[in-house]
Symmetry: C2
Amino acid sequence: MSVRHSLLALLQERPRYGYQLRSEFQDRTGAAWPLNIGQVYTTLERLERDGLVRKESGADGGQVVYSITDEGAGQVDAWFSAPVERSNPPRNELAIKLSLALSLPGVDAGAIIRAQRAASLAVLQEHTKVRRDTATNPRKADLALLLVLDSLIFQAEAEIRWLDLCEARMAQLAPSGNAAGR
Amino acid sequence: MSVRHSLLALLQERPRYGYQLRSEFQDRTGAAWPLNIGQVYTTLERLERDGLVRKESGADGGQVVYSITDEGAGQVDAWFSAPVERSNPPRNELAIKLSLALSLPGVDAGAIIRAQRAASLAVLQEHTKVRRDTATNPRKADLALLLVLDSLIFQAEAEIRWLDLCEARMAQLAPSGNAAGR
DNA sequence: ACAGCCATGTAACTTGTTACATGATTTT
DNA sequence: AAAATCATGTAACAAGTTACATGGCTGT
């Protein structure tokens, strides 16, 4: 629902056309979450179908401008008012994968952890580098992008710390590996 | 793809039927990510369509058992070998929401932060409580569940710390609110 | 003239998700 | 006998995603 709500929120500020919506969205989220232009149009169609936006065909053959309806504005307000659902969080693929790896025979959970840590570290460093470049001159316009980068960095850090904990818990539970006392 | 891959991984251990697959999945992820039984069957249908599993109709009218094919086993191995894609992470709804809230007029980003922090704190405490109950007797069977809880806790903590940082950045950038010096 | 970007759209598809129907078996 | 659980499935839909087609406009 992120894309749907985001486009709706951007339309609440002022009417816009499709291509504009993609630019605005990407300006605010940086290169982190690119948005395929096709999806903008399919989403706009569905929003119109649901009565949340109105298509204002540019009379002079210009761009196809969409504006928000009262019902749409209501949904935006509701979206901003309600906290993001965290009691029923989206499935965490990594947690599921490791969880299964541990209970399945013939799967080297330790290798998965090491590979993931390397990948997550690389991502963390990349985000940190981008943030350094962004944060040198924190204009108002960049605040949104800065926060998105912060978020990605915090998530990556948490993931790496979690991987460390996984290794520790595995070692604690399974002294049955090679070289028990050595 | 989480459900799809998970079912496939469970079938690699041994052939199973639909209801069993749901139990196994939920045993490993706890109550965190419940799995609708209907989805198990639709997913199995699609896996069969793609040649990754085989339907072994129980000859004596028993349960409908599925077993993995060679191609399916290959995909499981590939899944476990590759790190979870983090350079193109799933959209973070909260980050997007706050990002938009900051650049849109008439939206109280501070209120969103406070509401979200309250919600995330509640979730964090709930998970912590469940983990305390689980961790008292860390049998091998509970390790998977324990790690999932750890993951949820780490994520919630990171989110709360991020919200604090957001507030700090906002205060730093916008001394234009009420009571500038007071 | 040609390359490249701006701009709109459509068709086809994927995974996830739920509501519902159906019957067997087990428990109370 | 009634209620609950086990078990299998189907129909319909949501949201996301991509590949492709089609033009206009701009700079070289």
